[in-house]
Symmetry: C2
Subunit: 251 residues, 2 copies
């Protein structure tokens, strides 16, 4: 049967999602823990192939396991091995065709910045500490021109060679909470490093290094050097992936 | 001149406040950083001698440094060496008689519990993950009998041999926020391990292991075995220490 895992992890200690030889990755560690419980190594499909240092609060993974497996026991056993660095928030049976990666479900990412003069020891692992003011007005002006369907080649690489760089960015917002600034992004799929490149460019706009009205030209260039800097990985979290209900899919 | 430092630290990587040979402590690390900037090793006095694993958001430390020192430079230099694990939030000149430890200023501590079934990877370092419900009503009933001036020998040891175990507990509250429970405690001074012992006892009361009305007897016993368990260090944070203004002290 096909199973859907929702998991959270603190990305600091992992070299990203994808399994690699001799490197500690989320996929590698999770596969090994599942293999111990299932007694065979499963093949995992993840909604977001997060970069090294990126966190997740609602990563979704699908895999096939033997029918009749006890899902509660599976969850407790994996959490017993990996919590609190990585936790399975839920384990549920999915429809037979479910594939967490191939589905065009909206991915929600959140990027956190701390603008205070001194970093906060309790949140420094999950934020980009970048002291000093930013023009929210300019950042929001630029974000408006980035939303919608565009060729985002200036902001990231496709996951496969020769793949399309056109994406539909449904949301790109900037919010301020005291010393903290958050940028949230939602799309049915992102290019590699796209959220970090969007946020880095918005920060360059907020600092006045890039003109707030230059986004149409940056997009048109289809060249990564035309965009701004890449924001550090540690500020980024994959917050959730929203799949349509089985009911609506069937109808 | 006498200087007052307000500092925050993530206690996970320290074996408590007090300097010890061949062990990494907050006092040891901070003294060394200050010595590099000041070119002589200062003697530190701290408001709270936090245990191994305990955190601080508003620890206060006093020390004597050469008159005319540049306090802004001192702050930046120390933060450059120790942030984000330990940060100086402020460095200011204090009155000549100021001693962070000897002052009877109120110390505010906060203890965080996570009652959710699965721990949270982003806050697990600062909380006691203790899944399952607790009776808030019973915990509050017990807290009421603990507030006020009592001999707290059942809840901790004095810092000096033969010292008094009488303290005035001005606040001991329990608040619930969704899956989280917080207990805040305020007193002009605490015995060693007193907050952790108070919280552990309240949790035993919330679980029904200790009667909510038994606190007068527990206090009267003046014996640590009559109190409940010791709550783990990682849930505890020294939040702030409130000194009276210089003005009022002089008057």
């Amino acid at each position: 049967m096909i199973v859907k895992l929702v998991l959270a992890y603190e990305g600091t200690g992992f070299r990203g999602w994808a399994r690699q030889a001799r490197v500690r990755t989320v996929e590698g560690v999770l596969e090994e823990a599942l293999a111990r419980v299932l007694r065979s190594r499963p093949s995992l499909s993840a909604a977001g192939r997060t970069d090294a240092g990126v966190h997740a609060r609602g990563q979704v993974v699908s895999l096939e396991i033997p029918g009749g497996s006890d899902l509660g026991r599976l969850q407790r056993a994996v959490n017993g091995m990996l919590a609190p660095e990585l936790v399975l928030l839920s384990v549920s049976r999915a429809r037979d065709a479910f594939d967490a990666r191939r589905s065009a479900a909206p991915r929600h990412y959140r990027y956190r910045l701390d603008l205070a003069p001194v970093p906060d020891p309790f949140t420094a692992r999950y934020e980009w500490h970048r002291p000093g003011e930013l023009s929210l007005r300019a950042m929001r002006r630029a974000a408006r021109d980035l939303r919608g369907e565009h060729d985002f080649a200036s902001f990231g690489r496709p996951s496969e060679r020769g793949g399309s760089t056109v994406r539909r960015l449904e949301r790109l917002a900037v919010t301020r909470f005291g010393d903290r600034l958050e940028s949230t992004a939602r799309a049915n799929g992102f290019l590699r490093q796209m959220v970090r490149s969007l946020v880095g460019t918005l920060v360059d706009v907020g600092e006045g290094r890039i003109d707030a009205e230059a986004m149409p030209e940056v997009l048109a260039a289809r060249d990564r050097s035309s965009a701004g800097r890449l924001a550090p990985a540690q500020g980024l979290t994959l917050e959730r992936v929203v799949y349509r209900s089985k009911r609506r899919t069937v109808l």
